[in-house]
């Protein structure tokens, strides 16, 4: 069930005593989290528990007010250079895909490599096609996102992130906006990615996915990490009352 231990114990993402407020509202309370290279973390919890906010802090889509976040050895500070460097290393997949509707699938994938990494267009396109093949939609490369199904769009979004060769991938509820019959095709891509050794942080309610690939499952509630355990223990022997309640609510069907 559990994956082979990663070869390096190098820390990829480190959050130390991270606190964040939206105005008066305390969204993240003393978050401590260490993610080693190659580790797959699944983050779950009720809505409003701060799980999306936490992973969005990692690439500075949200700003944290206290504590340290270190990604791949780079401290995340006000410094724009550091933010840019971190964003190059961190890929993100969103709930609503956020593909660029005015560009074709191929252009969506090539854009960042060309403009951020200054890769020649030919190389970028070759690489984009390679990743589109891996997510199994090379034949859609010249279409616009609006012409694709939700599942296909999300797979393009994953390919678009991979084109930047990230060291860490963040998934923010990647299957929540999908029709049920499309969830599997996206999860399959994510599972494949996990088996290739990508470091992943996934906010998701897909417990099957958590059981298959996660090294650790984190349960958040009220802006705090309530419980953190390897999946077998987490699902069969949850320690906290809050976790038990949550699991009973999502697993009863």
């Amino acid at each position: 069930m559990s994956n082979p231990q990663p070869e390096h114990d190098q820390l990829m993402v480190e959050l130390r005593d991270v606190n964040k407020w939206y105005g008066e509202f305390h969204v993240l309370k003393n978050i401590n989290l260490e993610v080693k290279q190659g580790e797959k973390i699944v983050i779950c919890g009720p809505s409003g528990s701060g799980k999306s906010t936490m992973i969005r802090c990692i690439n500075r889509l949200e700003e944290h007010q206290q504590g340290d976040i270190i990604v791949n050895g780079i401290p995340l500070t006000e410094d724009l250079k550091n933010i840019e460097a971190i964003r190059k290393d961190v890929g993100m997949v969103f709930q609503h895909f956020n593909l660029f509707p005015h560009l074709t699938v191929l252009e969506n994938c090539c854009l960042a490599p060309i403009w951020v990494k200054k890769m020649p267009r030919k190389d970028a396109e070759a690489k984009a096609m390679e990743y589109l093949e891996r997510v199994k939609i090379p034949d859609q490369a010249l279409k616009y996102p609006g012409q694709l199904s939700g599942g296909q769009q999300q797979r393009v979004a994953i390919a678009r992130s991979l084109c930047m060769n990230p060291d860490v991938m963040l998934f923010d509820e990647p299957t929540s906006a999908l029709d049920p019959e499309m969830i599997k095709e996206v999860l399959d891509v994510m599972i494949e990615l996990a088996h290739e050794g990508m470091t992943m942080l996934c906010v998701t309610h897909e417990m099957g996915f958590a059981k298959t690939v996660a090294d650790r499952v984190i349960f958040m509630d009220g802006g705090q990490i309530v419980e953190e355990n390897e999946p077998h223990e987490f699902f069969n022997n949850p320690q906290h009352e809050r976790t038990q309640l949550f699991l009973s609510q999502i697993l009863q069907h």
Binding site: F94, H96, N98, L99, F100, H102, A112, Y144, S161, A177
Partner: protein, 366 residues
């Protein structure tokens, strides 16, 4: 059960063709039939005299007032004054310079508008960067052996086009910068843009033009004099860019937050994000608003007559004062209106075409 394939039949005769169309759109029910007949009667009873006056009874051929004998319009008047309507007081020997500039402009525009032509990017750069320089030297001269033609001799349709084209080409980028500035997170930049936009939007264009032509020179030392046309151009551009900024801001606000986040997450910088991701989508949404502003600008250029620049409307008015041609102001105003209408209507049609062409579907996005 036995199954017979049914034959494919043509639709009933009275539902297709001209008869079908009329039944469906003009005579579907008693009230609509009455409305069609009444409105049709008024339309025809108005149209006939208008056509009679402007076309069938009109005087087309001749040189002088004596040619206008019939009851209809005297287009001879327009013909005799056509050069002034088009070129103002530009020296006749130099008309070719205006013609050449106009032809170059039209070639560039047609090149950009037609779907089949290659290398549109280079043409756009030519139109925005190289053409203005060429046009300036062609029109103003004083270089390359061309005689200098001072701006107070410019006039007519060519002056209207100069004002409109410069206004349009300069106010769009300025408007984009102002709109971005207004959304900026830096308070100083934002306040400067807000103040600029609100001041210019709160002032009538006539006031701006008066300021530019009468008051502005008072603030400068006497030996330093700007060209009057240049001052009017700057006034018009700044005025329109404030409107443009607000139109573009509307477009920027319509772009979902997810687009900004996706661009950020991919590591694009601010300008890359704006130029590659946000602006193309916002401008597409804003085509109707932008073209609306362009059309308003085009028509507003006629206000320069109050500061003594002779655009096509002012030329028309001047022609009405000609003692040899008293009594034909209807014709000259109609001609001026037609000129304005042709240009504005073309812009409007092109914008509708662009909207359809650029629609790549935001449909599936949530």
């Amino acid at each position: 059960m036995k199954y017979d394939e049914q034959p494919t039949l043509p639709p009933p005769a009275n539902t297709i063709g001209a008869v079908g169309w009329m039944r469906k759109h003009l005579f579907n029910g008693p009230y609509n039939s009455i409305a069609t007949l009444v409105l049709g009667y008024f339309l025809i009873s108005w149209m006939i005299p208008i056509f009679q006056w402007s076309i069938f009874d009109a005087n087309w051929i001749g040189e002088t007032r004596d040619a206008c004998t019939g009851d209809g319009a005297c287009w001879v008047f327009i013909g005799a004054r056509l050069n002034q309507f088009l070129y103002g007081f530009y020296p006749e020997a130099e008309y070719w310079r205006l013609n050449l500039a106009f032809i170059l402009l039209m070639i560039a525009i047609v090149w950009l508008v037609l779907p089949q032509t290659p290398r549109k990017g280079w043409m756009a750069i030519f139109l925005l960067v190289i053409f203005p320089v060429i046009a300036f030297f062609l029109l103003y001269g004083d270089a390359f052996g061309l005689k200098q033609v001072e701006t107070h001799k410019w006039g007519g349709l060519s002056l209207t086009l100069v004002l409109a084209v410069v206004g349009i080409v300069a106010s769009l980028p300025l408007g984009i910068v102002l709109a971005l500035g207004r959304q900026s997170e830096m308070p100083i930049v934002r306040s400067v843009c807000v103040i600029f936009i609100e001041i210019w939007r709160g002032v009538p264009l006539i006031t701006v033009l008066f300021m530019a032509s009468v008051m502005l020179p008072l603030f400068f030392p006497e030996d330093m004099s700007f060209d009057k046309l240049l001052r009017a151009l700057i006034g018009i551009t700044l005025f329109q860019s404030a409107y443009m900024a607000e139109v573009i801001r509307g477009g920027l606000q319509a772009i979902p937050k997810g687009q900004y986040e996706a661009a950020d997450a991919l590591g694009l910088g601010y300008w890359q994000k704006m130029i590659l991701i946000i602006m193309p989508q916002a401008l597409k949404l804003m085509i109707p608003g932008i073209v609306n502003t362009f059309i308003a600008l085009f028509k507003d250029t006629s206000l320069v007559l109050i500061i003594g620049l002779f655009d096509i409307l002012a030329i028309g008015q001047a022609a009405n004062q000609d003692p040899n041609w008293i009594g034909f102001s209807t014709e000259s105003y109609l001609f001026v209106a037609l000129m304005f209408w042709v240009f504005c209507f073309s812009m409007s049609r092109y914008s509708m075409h662009l909207e359809r062409k650029l629609h790549t579907g935001h449909g599936n996005r949530t």
